[in-house]
Amino acid sequence: MTRLLVPAAPVRPADAPTPAGRTARRTALLHWIAVHALGVAAALFFVLPFVFVLLTSLMSDQQALTRDLTPDTWEWENYRRVWDTPGFLTWWRNTLLYAGLGTVLTVVSSVPVAYALAKFRFRGRKLSLMLVISMMMLPPQVVIIPMYLFWAKQLDLSGTLWPLIIPTAFGDAFSIFLLRQFLLTIPNEYLDAAKVDGCGEFRTLTRVVLPMARPGIAAIALFQFFAAWNDYFGPQIYASENPAAWTLSYGLESFKGAHHTDWNLTMAATVLVMAPVIAVFFFAQRAFVEGVTLTGVKG
């Protein structure tokens, strides 16, 4: 709304404001105040839940059962108690394995597919793309019965996270789709130039396309990492029978079960599960926001 002031500025100097200029300026100021007041209100809505969770995580066992909003004594010890809970470290290790290995495998297997779908001309390309999008939209529960029987009865892998990690080596539909949308934005001239210089398709991909596609790759890596970190259904199906294979998202719920009156400890555990994701976000904010935008706008 500062735009309103622009036509007024050159003709009317600030030391001699006309009534019209003053009104416009006052309107702009009021508008600024209204917008930012709304912004603060919205920020409170988004942030207060985190604040209450943090405050409760620092209360004593007794106080966490009361209606108090702020701790009387700050019990930082709660975090050590959660950390020392049997299993908590195992859940961390398992989550890092699932998220880390799954992310690497997803990127390695999805890049060539996305490249082919973006830059090759071949029969069945359109069909392949439609199938990729269908797979992307497929709820995991639709195929879970045969998949469970396959992993548990044929391969005897229930009670481990392998049924969740191995499939990532065969391309992830969402990552393929997202990366393909990104690769479309790379001009073909670069690829042609590489071919004139004698690069084959594989060398063109590794030497020319990959360096340019770094933001897209960062985005799919982040999404995959978060998806694995947040996954509840997968570990519930395959790992629930074996606590040694639980992940943080799955273990957190059982933590609540074991400490069902200790809201302070449960909230401390909740903070410990949220914190790494939020830390990763701060380091990679741009790549992440670009990725979200790519899902909705480009294409």
Binding site: V47, V143, K256
Partner: protein, 312 residues
């Protein structure tokens, strides 16, 4: 060029395409095509995971549609979520998107704060909300009580559990905010300036300039929202489990939907039938219903956005 070399070149490029597509071709066959066929097969079989599956015609189908007490409540809940939760998310996401494009001071900070809840892992966010909204000592009811307002039972009351889930979903609006923000910034400035010169009101500018420009993104948000609502699983299941107090433990099995089946959704039925009742046949029937709904809306999404496929 002779036909011979032309053909060998084409064969070479087919091989090249196959090599690049190989990971997905295997993935598609093993993790999509095969289990889809198998799901259809099991939907006509009586199978509990042990012994041999035996054909039982349409028995699973009639059981799910007529006798399984959780099926219709879960469809009704999904309809509620589509009508209320999706609407709230889209309206709120658009509102916050518009707000962020108007904020001129501290934009980066505001954007980060608005975005953060979207990142909270679903189980952690759900636990946090069950705590915040717990009827007795939760901060929300404490504040409402102090203000002399009614204090609902939230996740412990069948008529408040879905509104509570909606609050949780609206809290995590960050993805929609970013998408709407990008769309709003793409609206040509000249159109606003022209409208302003014509002396239009703010509402008219929204109605006749903003909305037509961003309508494809609104459609995208609505359709993906509907698809997400049909797949809604972790939050309602965890909320029900935690609020009911029945978690893990030996022998104690949680029947999804607490309180009073008010949080049931279709994916939870697949879990309940397949992994709690070991009725794999009926679980596959529900899986196919879920599949049909998801594909119908995906088709709608693709029809609205032809360029998703073409993209050249």
């Amino acid at each position: 060029m002779t036909t011979h070399t032309l053909r060998s070149k084409r064969r070479g490029s087919a091989l090249r395409t196959a090599a690049f597509m190989a990971p997905w071709l295997i993935g598609f066959t093993v993790f999509f095509a095969y289990p889809m066929v198998s799901t259809v097969y099991f939907s006509f079989m009586d199978y509990d995971g042990f012994g041999v599956p035996s054909f039982n015609g349409l028995a699973n189908w009639t059981y799910v549609f007529q006798d399984y007490p959780m099926f219709w409540p879960s469809l009704r809940n999904t309809l509620w979520l589509v009508l209320v939760m999706v609407t709230c998310r889209v309206l709120f996401g658009l509102g916050v998107g518009m707000l962020i494009t108007r904020i001129k001071t501290g934009t980066g900070l505001f954007r980060t704060l608005f975005y953060l809840p979207y990142l909270a892992p679903p189980v952690a966010a759900t636990l946090a909300f069950v705590f915040l909204l717990n009827p007795g000592t939760g901060p929300v009811n404490s504040v409402l009580g102090d203000l002399g307002l009614p204090t609902p039972g939230w996740f412990n009351d069948a008529s408040w559990s879905k509104p509570a889930l909606t609050m949780l979903a609206v809290w995590g609006i960050g993805d929609l905010m970013v998408i709407f923000m990008a769309a709003l910034l793409d609206v040509p400035k000249e159109q606003y300036e022209a409208a302003e010169l014509d002396g239009t009101s703010a509402w008219q500018r929204f109605r006749f300039v903003t909305l037509p420009n961003i309508s494809p993104i609104v459609l995208f948000a609505v359709v993906t929202g509907v698809i997400q609502a049909m797949q809604y699983y972790t939050q309602p299941l965890v909320a029900g489990k935690v609020a009911s107090g029945v978690i893990g433990g030996s022998g104690q099995q949680f029947e999804p939907g607490y309180p009073d089946r008010s949080t049931l959704t279709l994916p939870q039925l697949v879990y309940n039938l397949g992994f709690q009742r070991f009725d794999y046949g009926s679980a596959c029937v529900v899986a196919l219903v879920l599949f049909a709904l998801a594909m119908a809306f995906t088709a709608l999404l693709m029809r609205g956005r032809d360029n998703l496929i073409a993209g050249d």
